[in-house]
Amino acid sequence: MGPTRRRQKIVSELDFLLMVSPSQEENVTGGPAGSRASATSGRWSPSLILPILPYFTFVGLFLLVPTVVLFTKAFRPVTGSTTSAMVEAMNASNRSSFVFSLKLSLYSAILGAIIGFLFALAASRIERPRRLRNLVTGFSGVAANLGGIPLAFAFIASLGAQGLFTRILYHNGIDLYGAGFKIYDFWGIVVVYLYFQIPLMLLVMLPAIDGLRPTWREAAINIGASPFQYWRRVGLPILTPSLLGGTLLLFANAFSAYATAYALSSGGSRLVPVQIRFYLQGNTITGKGNLGYALAAWMVLILLFVMTGYLLLRRRAERWRTT
């Protein structure tokens, strides 16, 4: 079990459980295998395209067409108005729910990134029970995919007004709810989201931390660097793209989440997805259906922006991991 082997294992685990594939580049550029013959007959030849047509048709029908429809409806005006719903979606009350959603995603991403990074670093440095690391990665794989209704329930049972942990704190003189904490408010949701954000960050960061070669550290120590200096000048700069990329991934993750917040607040949250539901269910009465489309369209735009940044940063992070 050399370190590379282990790294590969974790990378593949990550690959399977999440969306991160470090080997993407080599796949994307297209290997040499199979490019003979077919390459010359042209990329549009029917015999070449026919077998992959169902896939593209399926994605076209159920992902691309709906997205296009979403945007065309979003740019139409709301009944009784002349401005596009896209513009109206950024008016006062809706803007405040965007601010709420963005802020929530940002805080949970930054906190999740910091704690997740420390967690990953700690897990990678502890060697004594060898199984700890496997335990941590295995568990993270499960927890990062949790979320949804069960997670909300688990936190209602522990940090709700009558929750176990709330009670324990209360008996020790800390009155959470007296201090204004509510599980369905801003900070409550942030804490709940950390449950899947921290493990996700761990899964992103472990391969990157394993990619720090011992020789770099030894070289730094040999020329007289302290461990602190090593981290300041070598370790952290190399990890920075991974850290930033991971943070963006966490942000996108939180931003598109819906079920957990919905169940925590019994449907009354100010989050953008919950607002979308509100507009669409009332659309026949209020005539504001297009507003729902516009909010969803804004979500797509924001996610497009964030995920592009993530992919760029990941490409940069891989610079050190090749060879």
Partner: protein, 273 residues
């Protein structure tokens, strides 16, 4: 040589670990102990544990249809995803290499369109023209397949990449096997790990999916749980716990399978040319 002193590492592991374990314990207690929170103390800690709440909910006549619907949707989605992707990824690796990039980018689009936007777009596009997508239970399948696409594509793509595909296919075909036989007897056994991984993940995603099914007013397991929460909180909590345990077991089995064959494909069949 690696004799580092561990100072801050254990506290971090323990605190974060506690953060992960406490909610699970609290959930278990809530689901199975009939002692009001205010009376919970050292002497009542072990009294009145029961699974009656859970049993009540499970025998509720709305639970079983919801559970079965989720299971069926999970199975059908897995089949649709595999039927859609296996031939496609095979062809992309075998011949249509120029299309690989496009196929992958397209699969990643699902990350940019969140479930809530997807369901809004789909109902906007098809509510009037193809109403079964919105109105029937199994109309959820295409949407769920889209949700699973990014990880399913990547998993299968990696599975095929680990194979010496040309050698395998050529060997099989030159021995007189039809495409169908090649697929069934050569490719699928070699792709076992990738196929199982995809299936388990897709199944788990469908079992827990809430946003889409709730917006389309379908009675799947998660929407049932939310609805039952008000009526029978303890039972709903028990069902949620059950779902969590099921997911965890699924992932543990998956970890076993992956461990058993780290690169099963490339090791088992080394037919060197």
């Amino acid at each position: 040589m690696n004799k580092r002193r561990t100072t801050w590492e254990w506290p971090v592991i323990l605190v974060v670990g506690a953060f992960f374990i406490v909610p699970m314990l609290a959930m278990t207690r809530f689901a199975m102990q009939r002692v009001p929170m205010s009376l919970l103390g050292r002497d009542t800690l072990f009294s009145r544990w029961t699974i009656r709440g859970l049993m009540n909910t499970i025998s509720d006549d709305k639970f079983q249809p919801a559970f079965l619907l989720s299971v069926r949707l999970g199975i059908v989605t897995v089949l649709v995803v595999l039927a859609l992707l296996l031939p496609t990824v095979l062809w992309l690796h075998l011949r249509a290499v120029q299309w690989k990039m496009a196929a992958e980018v397209v699969s990643l689009l699902a990350y940019v369109v969140p479930p809530i936007a997807l369901v809004v777009g789909v109902s906007g596009a098809y509510r009037d023209t193809v109403p079964w997508i919105v109105s029937t239970n199994f109309g959820l399948v295409p949407l769920y397949a889209i949700l699973c696409l990014p990880f399913a594509y990547r998993t299968l793509d990696a599975g095929f990449a680990a194979l010496d595909l040309h050698t395998l296919v050529n060997a099989s075909r030159s021995l007189g096997a039809s495409w169908q036989q090649t697929f069934r007897k050569v490719l699928i056994p070699n792709l076992r790990t990738a196929i199982l991984t995809t299936s388990f993940l897709a199944f788990a995603v469908v079992m827990g999916e809430f946003a889409i099914s709730s917006l389309l007013l379908k009675r799947t397991l998660p929407t049932y749980m939310v609805e039952a929460q008000g009526r029978e909180p303890q039972g709903a909590m028990g069902v949620a716990l059950l779902l969590l345990v099921l997911t965890t077991v699924l992932f543990m089995v998956l970890g076993r399978i992956q461990k058993k064959s780290p690169t099963s494909s490339s090791q088992e069949i080394r037919i060197t040319p």
